[in-house]
Amino acid sequence: MIDGLNPALILIGGSLLALLAPQGRARNLFMLALPVLGALQLWGLPYGEYARIELFDLTLTTLRLDGLSFAFALVFHIAALLAIIYAWRLDDPVQQVAGLLYPGAAVGAVLAGDLVTLFICWELAAVSSVFLIWARRTQRAYHAGMRYLLAQIGSGVLLLAGVIVHLRATGSITFEHLGLDSPGGWLIFIAFGIKAAFPLLHNWLQDAYPEATVTGTVLLSAFTTKMAIYALARGFAGTESLITIGTLMAMFPIFYAVIENDLRRVLAYSMNNQLGFMVVGVGIGTPLGLDGAVAHAFADILFKALLFMSMGAVLLRAGTVNGSELGGLYKSMPLTAGLCMVGAASISAFPLFSAFVTKSLILEAAAREGHWVSFLFLLFASAGVFHHAGIKIPFFAFFAHDSGIRCEEAPRNMLVAMGLAAALCVGIGVFPEALYAILPYPIAFDPYTTTHVVTQLQLLAWSALAFSVLVRTGIYPPELRSVNLDFDWGYRKLMPVVATGVWGAVSRGWEAFNTAVEHLVKRLIAGLARHHGQYGVLATTWPTGSMVLWAVVLLGACLIFYYL
């Protein structure tokens, strides 16, 4: 451990050094060492504030370690480590560098003690992550990446504006509770909201994540949105409106998830839904709620990574993740199927799996504060998440009707990464105290009460029953090759049409104006040329008599003028 060294710098600095290492095992080992070193550094640092920098007339606190930031920083390191193992065989320096830079930026963001540092990491994360999408090297990925980047940088600039307004009003850039009554608070809130994929601001997530590379999606799923959850927990804990927002967030994506065909996009919707739970936790703002949000974020990173990794392995081996084209893969990829089901169980909050011990914190907090409407909706969402993430994903990918695809099992490194993630999911589910111990607020909460276990099992089992009944009766909507309109229609269809129209009108108007001016100038020149042109009256040689006449006329005029 080096005193005061920001763990983020290990990842960021290492990302550039990694390029110097020769491609292959050496670089892989070097990369693997980075998150381990970073985590050790993080572990070794006592809570406190470090690495203050004086800039202009501001004081930047680039490293602040407390309970909240520690939990996020730790899980970010774990996620980075898993991704590196998962991408062991990847031969793409762009993804490798981005895959370190991006986690580094995220770690930097959660460790930032001031808003300026936060902004810097915020933007760095935005820029470094887009390469994970572009690295897919398809036209779709290029466009999706561009849209993603615009959303991310849009969030960044709003944050910047908010920070400046906040700074002017309070004279402080310390990142602590901001609230919506603080000037600039709203701007920062919206900035966080974009990255947290609030309803209406969410589309970049479902749009971009499924277009990223196999590794890219795994990485993307871990950091950006959780960084935003952290920021909300830090700046807007207890903000009432977050409960409503979070509830909506948990609800509406599940409908899309049901009819979505691309299984990675299903996961993206499900991710949106899980974020809703965390947002509700932050909105409740009690120690229990916040702990719930943090714990759920922690768990979510792991099981979502696991699910995306399994779907990535399917994409790698089968060449597609469209539900309509898959099925019966358990024969080819039994291990992947098993690990995927661990992830599915985790996200569905089966007892002994991670979400069970984390989501219940949030539900409990909601219940204790008497938010019964939210509670009911969250329950609905829990059933829904089981439905689409717990059942639909494994069912359509690995079971259902046999698509006839026969392929290899996932590569060993991927299995190792998935295995580790699965172990963590189960570990958290079995030993929740370990996770509870690193949460920001001390809590005494036992998830494994009879009531809790039974009711949860009831919920899950009857949901599964509903699924089975619907499938058997043929009511369940089939997987179809299609896209579903979401709010991205606004900027992918409507805006281009409007913009093209407006711009066309403006250009035409401008051209017409130019033509008119040109015409006018031409007429003016023609008029001038009539008198001043080469054969114009003012340019030709006059007969001497006329000249003399002019002289005399002028003399006369002068005389008259002078005499008057």
Binding site: Q534, L538, A539, W550, C558, L559, F561
Partner: protein
């Protein structure tokens, strides 16, 4: 010796002229003329130096004191003018030899006459400036005019004859009007000495005769200085005369006429009478503005570059008259300084054109295509002259433009300032047409691809070109002395 400088200024070229005519054709004639011009320049410089140091110099011809005898009277204004004319005279003379020997195709036996006429013309111009006697002005005017008719008609171009003839008619009318004006003044005051006239005129100012004299002088001088719309003789005369002659006349003749105007209306009549009572500015200002605009536009449409520059001269004269009609120290400074600067720029431009026509035999725009590549030095000088004409900073032209706008703004005459700036842009257009043609158009078919002009032409051309640059930065002479001259003319200076 030094006390005779004023008279030497005139006498030296006057004596040298017949000597030239008598000498046998050859190098010696030019040498004599050149030495004479150089001496004139030296004398002018010494005079200016003395005037700046000591104030007005009065010299009585033949020992007869004024007002009975002819007085040569040198103050800041005419010392400055002498320097311009003598300097241009000398530089153009250096340029003239090659032109006369190789371009004009004058029989060798006639060549000395050219130099003699040139020197006579110089004599006339210098005399008009140096003299303090109104009638003497007329005498020298006739000397310079008659010799310039000859100089113009000497060219190869047959159209020069018509041009010279028209110039002769108009010049004579102008001179006659001036003579009539002087006559009226003499009738009313009984004196021809300028200082004396100035003293006696106020007593009789309110008479019809004086007013008539004023009118005749206005029109007479305006004809000589080619004020719009009395400029019609000028474009052809300049366009068809040999390049050396054009360079000389364009840089000096009209300037001297303007000097005469200044002398008559500021010194003799006095600014109060001319502009306060007679409202001369009410006539000059509109004509100046119209001239600036109209002649600039005409210049844009010209295809003969020499004629284009001639029209540009008309416009530039407009600027000077504009400065005068501002009737302020700044305005007059602008006008007087522009006399100097315009002499530099037009001298450069016409000499550069002389170099071009020396090599390719024509100065029409289409024939000049691509000439920038084969004559880089010549066109370099042309560009410098052109920039100065436009009034780009670091050239002499900027100095006068600066004072002119300053003068206009001081009087609060917005539109005038704007017009001045706008017409500079017209100058950009007509100058840049030439530059573009010379540098970017391919050479026309069948034009001999001769090289750069000979050094004998380039050195004088570049002397003036560099002077354009020098006086754009060090303005103590062209603006500093001009200011003193302006103060002297307005009678406000120290």
């Amino acid at each position: 010796m030094t006390e005779h400088l004023p008279v030497l200024q005139v006498v030296v070229p006057l004596i040298a002229a017949p000597l030239c005519a008598l000498l046998r054709p050859g190098r010696a004639v030019w040498l004599l003329a050149m030495v004479t011009c150089a001496l004139c320049l030296l004398i002018a410089a010494l005079l200016l130096d003395r005037v700046l140091a000591q104030g007005v110099i009065s010299y009585a011809m033949g020992g007869w004191p004024a007002p009975w005898g002819i007085e040569y009277r040198v103050d800041a204004a005419n010392a400055y003018m002498l320097l311009i004319v003598a300097a241009i005279g000398a530089v153009v003379m250096a340029f003239a030899r090659t032109v006369v020997e190789q371009r004009i195709r004058l029989p060798a036996s006639k060549q000395p006459w050219f130099y003699a006429t040139y020197l006579l013309c110089l004599t006339g111009l210098l005399g008009m400036i140096v003299t303090g006697d109104a009638f003497n002005v007329f005498v020298f005017l006739e000397i310079s005019s008659l010799s310039s008719y000859v100089l113009i008609s000497i060219g190869r171009d047959r159209r020069a004859l018509t041009a010279a003839y028209q110039y002769l008619i108009m010049g004579t009318i102008g001179a006659t009007f001036i003579l009539i004006g002087i006559g009226f003044l003499y009738v009313m005051t009984g004196t021809l000495n300028m200082a004396d006239l100035a003293a006696r005129l106020p007593a009789v100012a309110d008479t019809r005769t004086v007013r008539a004299a004023f009118a005749f002088l206005t029109i007479g001088i305006s004809l000589k200085l080619a004020l719009f719309p009395l400029h019609l003789w000028l474009p052809n005369a300049y366009a068809y005369a040999p390049s050396a002659v054009t360079a000389f006349l364009a840089a000096t003749a009209t300037k001297v006429a303007i000097y005469v105007l200044l002398r008559f209306f500021f010194t003799i009549f006095g600014a109060q009478f001319s502009f306060g009572t007679m409202r001369l500015d009410a006539i000059l200002l509109p004509l100046a503005l119209a001239g600036i605009f109209s002649a600039s536009v005409v210049a844009i449409f010209q295809t003969n570059v020499k004629r284009m520059l001639a029209y540009s001269s008309v416009a530039q004269i407009g600027y000077m008259i504009l400065g005068i009609s501002l009737v302020s120290v700044t305005g007059l400074t602008a006008a007087i300084s522009h006399l100097f600067n315009h002499a530099l720029m037009k001298g450069t431009l016409f000499m550069a054109l002389g170099c071009v026509s020396f090599r390719i035999g024509a100065v029409s725009l289409d024939r000049m295509a691509g000439v920038g590549r084969i004559m880089p030095w010549t066109m370099g000088a042309f560009v410098i002259g052109g920039l100065s004409l436009i009034g780009v900073p670091m050239t002499a032209g900027f100095v006068s433009k600066w004072y002119l706008i300053l003068g206009a703004l001081e009087r609060g005459w917005w539109p005038v300032a704007l017009l001045v700036l706008f017409t500079s842009l017209l100058a950009v257009v007509y100058i840049w047409r030439v530059v573009e043609t010379a540098y970017f158009q391919p050479a026309p078919e069948g034009r001999a691809t001769t090289g750069e002009a000979p050094l004998a032409l380039l050195v004088p051309t570049w002397t003036l070109a560099l002077a354009n640059l020098y006086f754009g930065l060090d303005t103590s002479l062209n603006a500093g002395v001009a200011r003193r001259a302006a103060e002297a003319l307005l009678g406000v200076g120290p």
